[in-house]
Symmetry: C2
Subunit: 338 residues, 2 copies
Amino acid sequence: MDRPPGMVDVAREAGVSHITVSRVINGHPSVRPETRTRVEAAIEKLGYRRNSVARALKSRRSSTIGVVIVGSDLFELPRILLGVETAAKEAGYWVSLASRQGESTTGDLVETLRRLTDQSVEAIAVVADRPVAVEALTRLAIGVPVAVVMSGNVPSPDLSFVEVDQELGARLAVRHLLDLGHRDIAHLTGALRTFDARARVEGWQAELAAAGAEGALLEGDFSAESGFRLAQELCAADAALPTAVFAGNDQMAMGALAAFAERGVRVPQDVSVVGFDDMKGAGYLVPALTTVRQDFAHLGRSAIEVLVRMLGGEPAERHKIAPGLVVRHSTAAPRTAS
Amino acid sequence: MDRPPGMVDVAREAGVSHITVSRVINGHPSVRPETRTRVEAAIEKLGYRRNSVARALKSRRSSTIGVVIVGSDLFELPRILLGVETAAKEAGYWVSLASRQGESTTGDLVETLRRLTDQSVEAIAVVADRPVAVEALTRLAIGVPVAVVMSGNVPSPDLSFVEVDQELGARLAVRHLLDLGHRDIAHLTGALRTFDARARVEGWQAELAAAGAEGALLEGDFSAESGFRLAQELCAADAALPTAVFAGNDQMAMGALAAFAERGVRVPQDVSVVGFDDMKGAGYLVPALTTVRQDFAHLGRSAIEVLVRMLGGEPAERHKIAPGLVVRHSTAAPRTAS
DNA sequence: CAACGCGATGTTAACGTTAACAAGCTGCCC
DNA sequence: GGGCAGCTTGTTAACGTTAACATCGCGTTG
């Protein structure tokens, strides 16, 4: 015998029919304990393993959840993925991966989703950083439950959304600076084609407006390089330096810190800096970075949990996970209250 | 009709038999062009998509490659994964994910591999940072081609290995310091249970020995925190500070930089620091970090390419990808040549 | 002109599982 | 003691595809 044993082989070994083997494996109640034991012994002896492909074909249940990754600005992808994978495994599902890098057109995305449904995935989690991708999703009848991770605000009754509340995070950061006494808080934005960057801008604006404070907006792209460049611009400008800078993410904060160090601008004495993400090592920048922490593993886990509920017939859900402010040493009261 | 159309439906529409449809889809040569066109029209009209589960069942080819992730110290996982996914897609394969976090026993690993083969994956890539995992692999007859990513040095004729040459990377880093005139080069190691950390220690030792130089070894765990702590120890020690520090990775270098800044030790004037990885933003630390760059996407891509060749009947291969030194501003000649 | 070869198409039978239905056995109650 | 319920087991038929073999028609060649 050159191929792995099937149910028939186990059945022959145990002296029963293959369907009894099926029942034992699926935990069907009406099997005599004695028979069950015999079948289990045969399974053990032959080293039988259920062929999940055949099972998927017949039962139309592949026990697989597809994950689509759109965009590659996602620094924290591994943590999300680990959350996804862990939760999926716990729920008895496989994770099948499909990514779309670079400029993904709507057609590309459709094709990726198609490939995934061809594979008979039961549900799909889309980890997307761009509104474009999500807008495309809303126009698609995919036929399986879909959860969108990390980006929301698009009205769509059939899609679930799981995201960290970016606007709240931004507000937390800005409020912290306001509380310290800052009234001129610049924002170095992330890539504005992404949801996250936009939501952070909104949070920053809203909080600033509520406090009657102000600040310049400089557009970056989430890279440390852009943070560096924008901070340099800030220094070079004729106007006085703002007393605080809210960076689009920790990478940009890092760049800004480098630029300030180069110009001899002291942080936090001359200018306060807040980041976003709480990336690995953020506490060991100089100075240790005050930032907004996102729980990415939680995000991934929630996505799967939502999908599992949807597979159970529940309607689509929307979850906003609250981020938390982590205060370290890159923020302080402004030197001179104007 | 409530379920998606199958080949029979297409066949009926086109007025042929389902097997002709199969031939058209698989690009079989002996189909009359006129028939082909008719079938293609029917496919288009019905929106037919091949059921890859049924195909996998019959042909025993799932077109899926399994990826097992062992350990979670892998900061650069997403880049590897993206390389894997891209290369797999190009080669016509799916990627199915399975991770093992935390303390993975051999039994755990076996079970994970089993689950993957149950799914009929055609090949498996194991991204592992620990020797334990790899040793377990060598004792297993898995039945499909296996490539191990990121860790080598274990003799095993059936396993392919794809890794960045860690020892070479360490040598590059240390040689750079030696060339600058350093003779006392401490090494803050990564977690010694991992291959990478060990290989870097070996490279450091070998290069030091070859040059007749010396230096202390302090054991860390790849975290910025450990880099910080060990650098503090270095400062606190009665003996003089080494003139250079080779950190186990960029995170640890970051921690060390923070510790030195706190103590008023200037980098690179008082002490030079070299990292490993070239993590995102390494060029925007203060000072910009000299480090060793690993091409992770290449790593992932190579793994898939090797597996595809193995699926084509080729024997196992071993690849060492050469890392490159990136010189920035955290290294300089020692202040006083002794 | 018949036989052969070959390209194009069709028929049948798997792949290994689960669903639906059928049937045997036991024990219980009237 | 017969019939019926209920538990256990078996028979048969799919799921949608591909492999192997069969068939048909036509052009070519001895």
